[in-house]
Symmetry: D2
Subunit: 416 residues, 4 copies
């Protein structure tokens, strides 16, 4: 048992922390002022291009791509693949999670990371060349169109959108929403998931397909951008998108029709580590902000840190974050050593615990900040909204708890 | 002991519920579409004027003004004063709290209600004529400028803004923020609170004054509008406002210099009943929405209501709301029967419990709604933000808990 | 709406509080020292007889019997029936709940109260004369045998014990446990519930009977006394009792064979008010003890009350108790005014909330007392065990939450 | 980073699990029936001697003694010292914690382990020969007398007992309580802590001494045995002990007068790992029992596992236990690698989190078991009492949270 990071991880941690302190954190205010300057904030603040260039130069680019994914890249000329294990990447995701703008700086932001992983693992040479290359280089952005407004997406078999193969074309129809990143000016492609086999008696995990859809394909329409607690989360945004008789060559289907579920499953393990570590990073930053405020802000003649239960809140936040981090690191290590399937309970556990811990800690930080905490002068409100969504995105808490209980009870049911 | 509402209250409850169902709830969508139509949503959606006219006509206007405040109105010609007790008004506030737009419809929205109460109780005949009349008639809106960015306003003695009497003028300086309603196009006047006695050794509750400041007075500047979780809460909004050498006649001071604290205290009791009952109304509506969704939305072959712990969540929400409501009603009854001072613990208790219950229940409703819950298609996200702010506005939870504990421990300390 | 107790209730409250302060609280230590004196603590400490005599003389006897139950007493000569409403008795139950020994002093302890109510409502003249009279006079004690070890008693239809009518006899077989009070030296009779109709297709609420069983009937055997967290709860105790071919005349059946469920239902409403108010009394005493300790005990140079989050704990305890009390009082008032059936949700709500609040507050009081809190020098450990059992007795929390949710969702399901 | 146990640890884990399954778990019922057979259960059930002999033979003896403590043993002939690191011993402590009787079987029970560690680290050759040898061989038991009834022992500087050096004697006076294990028939010696320097201005961590006191020394008197929730926890028990002019040679003082605090500190780190891992073992067993019950017990036609929120409870228990275990293992690893001082926050964190998690999980297991859960037919009630005490023993939660917050805030305070 060894709780120290590997020397590879530690070296990246150091470099990333330095880069964050020197470049990213100071750029946050610039970024948001550039973003909000015009009437329509769906722009890429110029400072982002600078940061990306610096990160590339510093070798802090595409850090998320796991070691074993290297060999699966068909396309020639993919450079900048570092090949960290999940356990090594996890602390880097946490550091990036401390700033809202950081993940994109390092080309490590969702949903592009998940989409790139899908293309690395399942993409054809042609798909990789057309879409993976510009995604890896950071030229374009992408979105993932899975969730639908009219059905409970927590149960993926509810999906209603269709991707029907007609001759050498695939025809897409349906409405998706909460397609994150689709508002970004550089978003050029989405991965669309839909039913290819309409027979309700067909094996339920062989009925869906994933299709690469260029944003400018006729029939694709962003109906509206959705808000989260009133915030549109620009310039990425969350869109409601309709697909009306969208026709694409069958070569747009990833890995062939009927493999949508298989791909979705493969996408989950590492993606959850990323999400969880980022949100732990946010919680850690919230705790840091809370502590700074608590020692400086004075009421009734004492710093807030010395009033009432505030020190208990700080202690409990520390305990909760430490525990969530250790569990997430263990889940990452299990993915690396025994695989996603054997780590299913742990992966579900972190998906419950990390966003809930973050929501709690950030809420308490807001409380210590008072009204300033809900406004835009600190990153707390945005962090809070993000942690809150994460309790729904990629499966609500309830679905994960249900999975954990199912796995926990299995041996006892089997021995009845 | 009798838990039934008085016949007066019951009659208003019935009329108000009918009015809400017939006019207000159906107008919500219209209101928001009118509000968001233009580039700059700081407008009064036309439907609001219609609703207000109807409410006036229906005799559902200014319901908040308590019975014993009647006699204090110096100015002649004040009509439409109904004179309900706090216990009778409380259930009406709850009903209004079910819709974001309702309180204004009935001229019962904060901070105008608090400002009107101040003017009724402490305003001169001239002040009442100039400001109370148009506020009571709903022609103008007002704001309350107390909280400051640079000090912990939970401890009111921290206040830094000044209201210095110089001859027959009072001169205001300072920066205030979270001045709710100041963005409203009809906001014409604010009540500003500041230090009039700069001697730190003066009795600390006799140093402040409240001053009526017309919005167009030179030196008053809205520096920016603040957001709550990214939402600007238009058309009311929360402003950061600077006061730079703002000069007004001394007759603008309410009740005379040095009485600011006394007035602030008097403002608190009924206002907290209003806030708490409204937020309980929001919690009740969230529970209703959650139940409707839970019986209709299907996942894994069952309505959400029948899955996992959802029925426990619904049961716990019901229990929590019932209890918070009873406690708030009791506090209202105590204000009516034994007065604010004897009800201090109860008033502090409801200020802790009602917003926390609402935050919890609304959060759970959001969870049942999934992604739809954080967006703008349901009132849940806005309700959530409002409940969250209420844990800070008018004193954070911590200050109220501290007060409750102080009162609880007093007899034991005294008998040491 | 009126939160003041009726003058009748207030007069009893005053008298009961005086009696408690003068006689009961000072007798607690005496009682326990008399109880634990011998090797076998299944005795009635002599001080109890004195206290009972005084209570009778003071007219504080059988206070629990509700007003509307008077007329149902067939038997002549029942004296000492006071006839309070549930709302009037509730605060008296709370006061008694402050001391472990108090309920028996006033002949108001479970399960005798429930058994007496059953006999008042459903007992024949003969049954009333034989059992109700000596129970009302406090000469004998009784037990209630419903829960069984081998099945989940939360679902009463699981019951396995039988009460088969054979000619003019009824024959009982089965094993019951957690029969509270059966260890008491004065326990002379139990009410046994069992299946009389073995046909599984018979209407499931018409299959059971309740039978009065003298303790000395052949075939009745106390197999063992059960402990609660290691405590045997003498001299009442909780027994495991076997019934083996116990034969009794059919006149021992209460209200006739097949009416067991109906009687059980009727027993529930007021009994839950009693349980809940008593446990609220315990919580209130725990808070009082906690406050006293917190202002006196010093650590790190300060009274515990001024350290860390202790004042928050006290404030939250106060809030929780106030709310649980108000909800229970409302449920009592509803039973009085609209009946048990219309108050079903409220009755279930208090059964969840009151014991949980008590468990939480007592646990926190224990924490403030340190090791002394878990020992026998304060009443806290016994109170804790009692609150904990109450989350199981008379239906576990889960069953009540399920009922509340069912009632809450009913209108929404009906309108689908 | 590596979450796998070392091969040494894994080998002991396997052997210990086998031994537990084969010998300890089956002996639990025997042990308790032997214990409760007589009138006075302060006996050692004969089965314990058998189990100890087997454990010794299996090389599963004194596993707790950490590697670096070997060299400090002055006395010759100490055998059976295994020398595991804290990280390697931790999973073994967890396994032992699954059974109430297991720790003694392996000579790894508190407070003997802590006392042995003190003697290994600080004992003179003579002290080691006289007391450490028979403790290591399991011939005798010991107790630790620190907590006092009249002062808050959470603040150790409150201590009132005295250990005054008079010539070549040390004279002890004072009253101690919650001296665990002092009721055991084999308890021969206690470590007593008292003030040697009565000058209140002396350095507060140099005023106390620890003294080895044979139980049969004149002036030592067990005043009474204390109960925990009504249970006396035989045959160990918790005693209130008076020391009245107890005279011993100065050679009885451990490491010399004035070093009591230093020794107490050194005792803490590993001891907390032991306590926490044992209580996690109890929580894990409670979860196992809860799952077994939940799949077997049927109500309303379904196993409890499929009813309401029970699966959520199971999932949350799994998450909480995993996290508490990881944090405790990390703290153990830190003690091994960076030392107790650098691990102070983590050691305090586990002391808060592990007993609280255990208390929660065991309480929920009790709820699933219904009335059976609070009785003596399952180990749950005893486990619960033990977890509850652990929130007080060795410093209440509050003191540890305060330490965590202090360490967390330190860098921010320093940079003010």
């Amino acid at each position: 048992m060894n709780f120290a990071f590997s020397s590879t991880a530690q070296s990246y941690i150091n470099r990333l922390q330095d880069f964050m302190a020197e470049h990213v954190i100071p750029a946050e205010a610039v970024y948001f002022s550039q973003l909000k300057r015009g009437e329509r904030p769906w722009v890429v603040p110029p400072v982002m291009a600078d940061l990306k260039a610096r990160a590339k130069q510093a070798g802090l680019w595409n850090l998320f791509l796991a070691a074993d994914e290297h060999n699966k890249v068909h396309g020639a000329g993919l450079t900048g693949l570092i090949g960290l294990s999940n356990a090594d990447y996890a602390p880097l995701a946490e550091i990036m999670g401390r700033s809202f703008i950081a993940p994109e700086v390092f080309n490590c932001n969702a949903p592009d990371t998940g989409n790139m992983e899908v293309l690395v693992k399942y993409g054809s040479a042609e798909q990789q060349q057309r879409w993976l290359q510009p995604l890896l280089s950071g030229e374009i952005r992408s979105a993932f169109c899975m969730t639908e407004p009219d059905v409970a997406s927590s149960d993926a078999t509810n999906m209603q959108a269709t991707a029907i193969v007609e001759g050498d074309e695939v025809v897409l129809n349906g409405v998706k929403w909460w397609s994150t990143g689709i508002g970004h000016p550089d978003c050029r492609v989405v991965i669309f998931m839909g039913l290819s086999d309409l027979n309700p008696k067909a094996p339920k995990h062989l009925r869906h397909s994933m299709v690469l859809v260029p944003m400018d394909t006729p029939g694709v329409k962003i109906e509206r951008m959705l808000s989260v607690f009133g915030d549109q989360d620009e310039p990425y945004g969350h869109g409601e998108v309709s697909f009306t008789n969208v026709r694409l060559p069958v070569s747009s289907i990833i890995a062939g029709a009927g493999r949508g579920f298989e791909i979705a499953q493969g996408r989950l393990g590492p993606g959850r580590i990323h999400h969880c570590m980022r949100v732990i990073g946010a919680a850690e930053r919230a705790l840091e902000l809370m502590c700074k405020r608590a020692v400086r802000r004075v009421a009734f003649g004492q710093p807030l840190a010395d009033l009432g239960g505030n020190s208990d809140i700080i202690a409990n936040a520390r305990i909760a974050i430490e525990q969530a981090r250790l569990l997430t690191l263990k889940a990452a290590w299990m993915i690396d050593t025994v695989g996603v399937k054997a780590a299913m309970s742990e992966i579900a556990q972190i998906k419950v615990v990390a966003p809930n811990v973050a929501q709690m800690v950030i809420d308490q930080a807001i409380q210590i900040f008072g009204a300033a905490g809900v406004g835009a002068d600190t990153p707390l409100a945005a962090m809070y909204a993000n942690a809150r969504i994460l309790r729904l995105a990629d499966g609500p808490d309830e679905v994960h708890r249900s999975m954990i209980a199912k796995l926990e009870l299995k041996p006892y049911r089997n021995s009845l």
